[in-house]
Symmetry: C2
Subunit: 331 residues, 2 copies
């Protein structure tokens, strides 16, 4: 039997535990050109809100009654597909389930870093790390000496952005929530300054941490945090729009202070980044990130929940801000 | 005597006639390395609101009691500056006055197109035309076959943007105000479609005019017009933030629908453009524009008000939307 997490109803905002069910299904027989994968780690990520939402997005919504779309890392245990063999380590679109039967196009990559945990392919060597590196370098274009501000700075993407920006010679400023994460940003991820947005005075704290303005803003939140950052952009600033974690409702569409004047006066650029547009750069990015990980220059934080029963509430928990590091489920 | 228009008080929003005074001052003696210029045409432009505003902007505010900052075109009538002689046609920062005594650094350029009216150097061969060409090509990056939407499409910048985009092989869609300007956009400036934003149904009209979405949005207005455009951006769209004409108050800062999600889902880019960052490209741009003007491929519309007494109310009139074409004062 194969235990699976099914989407049972479509939430208005972030999916809660009651929008899912854990069921047992019979294992599928393997057709020609297919692989059976035993999942080892399942990913839980903010983007899942978008995959579930029934509105214009960059991917079709997960259908009611189907296995929740998710990246996972696992091992090929049976294969009728050319070039794939039992024992191969892979990560890809295997869903929130114990076992997946897939065609090779569901595989994102063969995990080459056998010296590192396969869980890393869902975090610092996966979408998080690759997004951090490519969005920062290709859209943020940080130059040595510039000031880079990161929202959700202790998160899976943010923590990598901060460290990579530092490796590239920038001054790095974290925006995060709570004193514990502030400490983590400073001691673990090496930020030059860290601001607790839940404490008073975000505007003043940003001004103090960024005396020459903000050259790159790596935005994972939108909302009131971005509203505080935008007026403090430096001339020629780049805003990387990577996520909108602070906005949980789209009906009615959320409002906020207009950005046009900031962009005009500062000759600034604001641009959205979706990793799936940059798949051709994936392997090169992973190789660079893995090198930094092995050298101890790129630290990461994982929070591993045990058992597939943890899945249904795991996404809502992300949006409650309770996770400490990249959230994963060990199957 | 030299008649001048002086800023007498700082307005909260757009400067009105009562914020200026027309005075007569004695002509200044010419110092060494200076030029005396007899102004022929004075420019009136939306950016003046920003030059007057006492808040963070890309140029220092015009001081109370000083001649209103303005571009003008005129003739050198006396010179002690090397390389400049009586009879030279020039345009530059000569202010709202009949006669200016300046150092050469106030000169933007020597007008080489003696076959064309010097007024053009304040419009289609000046900031408007050069802004249109450079902002469209460098930030908008229009590709043949793409759909380009222009706000204030009949204005000095907008009308040039629409025609240049068309010359570059794009489908062009005008957003403008009133049936008269709609007709002008279609017949005079060659737009493929023109929408009257004052009539009902901007969303529906945009959807009908842009069935494949909007690849380039050249924005001179911000505000509710942009709010209608943003949800209809195509994947990979570019938004050129060139002006914010529809927003007249900055205290309190205006709010509107958030753009982050549109930029993210559409992997779109939104970037501010200020012409003064691109002065090295000016002469090349003017040469290209002048060629199109001589060939009859780039049409322009001028509205020439007579006499310096017209200056004080001319700017407020722009924001009342009453001008027909590039507004100029003939001295």
């Amino acid at each position: 039997m194969n235990r699976q997490v099914i989407l049972t109803s479509r939430p208005a905002g972030v999916a809660q535990a009651e929008n899912f069910a854990v069921i047992s299904a019979e294992s599928l027989p393997l057709g020609p050109g297919q692989l059976r994968i035993r999942n080892q780690f399942l990913s839980v990520e903010p983007a899942m809100r978008g995959w579930i939402a029934d509105l214009g997005n960059y991917s079709a919504p997960v259908a009611i009654g189907s296995v929740m779309r998710a990246l996972a890392a696992g091992e090929v245990i049976e294969s009728t597909a050319e070039g794939w063999h039992a024992g191969d380590q892979v990560c890809g679109w295997f869903g929130w389930q114990e076992e997946a039967v897939v065609a090779p196009d569901a595989i994102l990559r063969r995990i080459a870093e056998r010296d590192l945990s396969p869980s890393l392919s869902l975090g610092v060597l996966g979408i998080n790390g690759v997004t951090a590196l490519l969005a920062l370098t290709r859209i943020g274009e940080p130059q040595p000496g510039e000031t880079v501000v990161v929202s959700t700075a202790a998160g899976g993407v943010g923590s990598a952005v901060g460290q990579i920006a530092k490796l590239l010679g920038c001054r790095t400023v974290a925006i995060t929530g709570g004193p514990e994460k502030v400490t983590q940003c400073l001691t673990e991820f090496g930020y030059d300054a860290a601001i607790d947005y839940k404490a008073d005075g975000l505007n003043e704290a940003l001004a103090a941490a960024c005396p020459n303005g903000i050259d790159v803003y790596f935005d994972n939140t939108a909302g009131v945090i971005s509203d505080a950052v935008m007026p403090q952009l430096a001339i020629g600033a780049r805003v990387v729009v990577c996520g909108t974690a602070s906005l949980t409702q789209w009906n009615p569409w959320p409002s906020g202070p207009r950005v046009e004047r900031h962009l005009l006066v500062k000759r600034a650029r604001m641009q959205g980044f979706v990793i799936f547009d940059h798949m051709d750069l994936w392997e090169g990015a992973v190789a660079r990130l893995a090198g930094w990980v092995r050298d101890g220059k790129l630290r990461y934080s994982e929070e591993i929940l045990e058992g597939i029963e943890a899945c249904p509430d795991a996404l809502a928990g992300l949006y409650r801000g309770e996770n400490k590091g990249k959230r994963l489920i060990r199957v």
